[in-house]
Amino acid sequence: MPLSDQNAYGSEPSGTFLNRVHSYEVQPDQGPAQVINFPRSCLHCENAPCVTVWPTGASYKRAEDGIVLVNEDACIGCGLCAWACPYGARELDQAAGVMKKCTLCVDRIYNENLPEEDRQPACVRTCPTGARHFGDLGDPTSDVSRLVAERGGYDPMPELNTKPVNKYLPPRPTGAAAGTDVLAPLLGVKATGFAGWLDRMLEKL
């Protein structure tokens, strides 16, 4: 079932999303602030609180690959699993009355009718800057495992002990490299000619 929109062309457009991108500003102790785009979607937690609270068994974590899915035909739309999720990964579809969430594109990643490079979640495949990565974090030699190890991948809200399977990579530091100040040449300008004479005269006043 597609994700429904409400009042899509009106003054208060709203809808069901599986991936929402926030923007945060981070102010380090020194130097300029950095703006970080922060996607928020299901982290397919190892210790998924959303699954255990479900009264109907409609949400489950697959034993073979750990993907957390919803059986929409068995969902009663009570909303309790969305309450249990600290990451806001689940949204109740206002038209269908059932819970929707990221499926890790389970229909794409195993689809042998697709070319191999397309067997990735759509968000990973389409990201123009290659900010998202997909792979097997259970295999310590996989590309994503090495990436997480090298860049120091972390869990958001670790104090809730959800043990997310997806990891966030910390943003790389940006800004001018040390020792280069693009405005520096403009600070030591000496006025010459008529302007220089005017400068000296005005200072004497």
């Binding site: 928020r40 009663i76 309790l80």
Partner: protein, 291 residues
């Protein structure tokens, strides 16, 4: 959290109803015949009426039966089972009171225990949520139980005992307000931990993820009306416990006094339950810079 009327009505009425049914099951109200019929009917009306209201909270009501399948992990499922078993166990006792049928004595305490287990299961649905720190505390089931016992005792006309429970309820509510206010900070979640950006500096919300609202914001970032929280807290404390206690002490006995006391208690209970939802803050609000 969004204070949905269906859930407020459900937890308030069902709580009082199951508390009342527990006292009736223990044989603490010595009515027979038509009088017993009316009394038991009131208990069932509150308990079952509340349960019916709860189904209005569902997106797909016709599938509600599926909620009975996951009793091993889900408190919502356990609540459903406890409610059905409690209603089944109390039925013979109601028939005993009305028609004088002979029923094993042991059924009374069993039915009462099932009624109270239903109330505990309802409370545990909220208590289990680590994402809502204010609820994730032992005082949540204690408060729900205190409401059920107080409402039940006032309806059962237990006089001074009911008055004592009323005062105890107000004390527990007060403690809940004081402790609840510390819970979010105690959980330790912040925008820095939620985004993990705390290691790079001090994060703040730069631009909203979307211009209009969404399900998450409507359901979990409710803040409208919190400006009246202080007044509502006083109303809840006074109406749910102190005024009914005064009525029961000053005008003991009589159906009218019990009725007025219960009506006042119910108003206070509704205010307290509204606050229970409206004041509860979900950690997902951190991503939006809202609570």
């Amino acid at each position: 959290m969004h204070p949905a009327p269906s859930v407020i009505v459900f937890t308030t009425l069902s709580g009082a109803g199951f508390g009342f049914l527990a006292f009736l099951s223990l044989g603490l109200v010595g009515a027979t015949g038509m009088q017993a019929f009316l009394i038991w009917a009131l208990g069932y009306a509150l308990a079952v009426g509340g349960l019916c209201a709860s189904t209005f909270h569902l997106g797909n009501r016709q599938r509600a039966w599926r909620a009975f399948t996951q009793w091993r992990t889900s408190w919502l499922s356990r609540e459903g089972w406890a409610a059905v078993l409690a209603l089944l166990a109390t039925a013979p006792l109601a028939l005993q009171a009305i028609f004088g049928l002979a029923v094993p004595v042991v059924l009374g305490p069993i039915a009462a225990a099932l009624c109270l287990m239903t109330v505990v299961a309802t409370a545990m649905i909220y208590t289990q949520l680590a994402t809502v720190p204010r609820w994730n505390h032992a005082l949540t089931p204690v408060t729900f139980m205190a409401f059920a016992l107080t409402g039940g005792a006032v309806l059962a006309g237990l006089g001074l005992w009911a008055a004592v429970l009323c005062v105890a309820l107000s004390a527990i509510l007060f403690l809940g307000f004081v402790e609840g206010d510390k819970r979010f900070a105690a959980r330790g979640a912040s925008l820095a931990s939620a985004t993990g950006l705390g290691r790079a500096g001090r994060p703040r919300v730069f631009a909203p993820a979307h211009t209009a609202g969404n399900y998450l914001m409507r359901e979990m970032m409710f803040s409208v009306g919190r400006k009246h929280r202080a007044r509502l807290r006083v109303l809840a404390l006074v109406l749910a416990g102190l005024v009914p206690a005064a009525i029961l002490v000053l005008a003991p006995g009589g159906v009218v006094a019990a009725g007025v006391a219960f009506g006042t208690h119910l108003l206070g209970a509704l205010a307290a339950r509204w606050l229970f939802f409206a004041e509860a803050e979900h950690v997902v609000g951190l991503y939006y810079g809202a609570r």
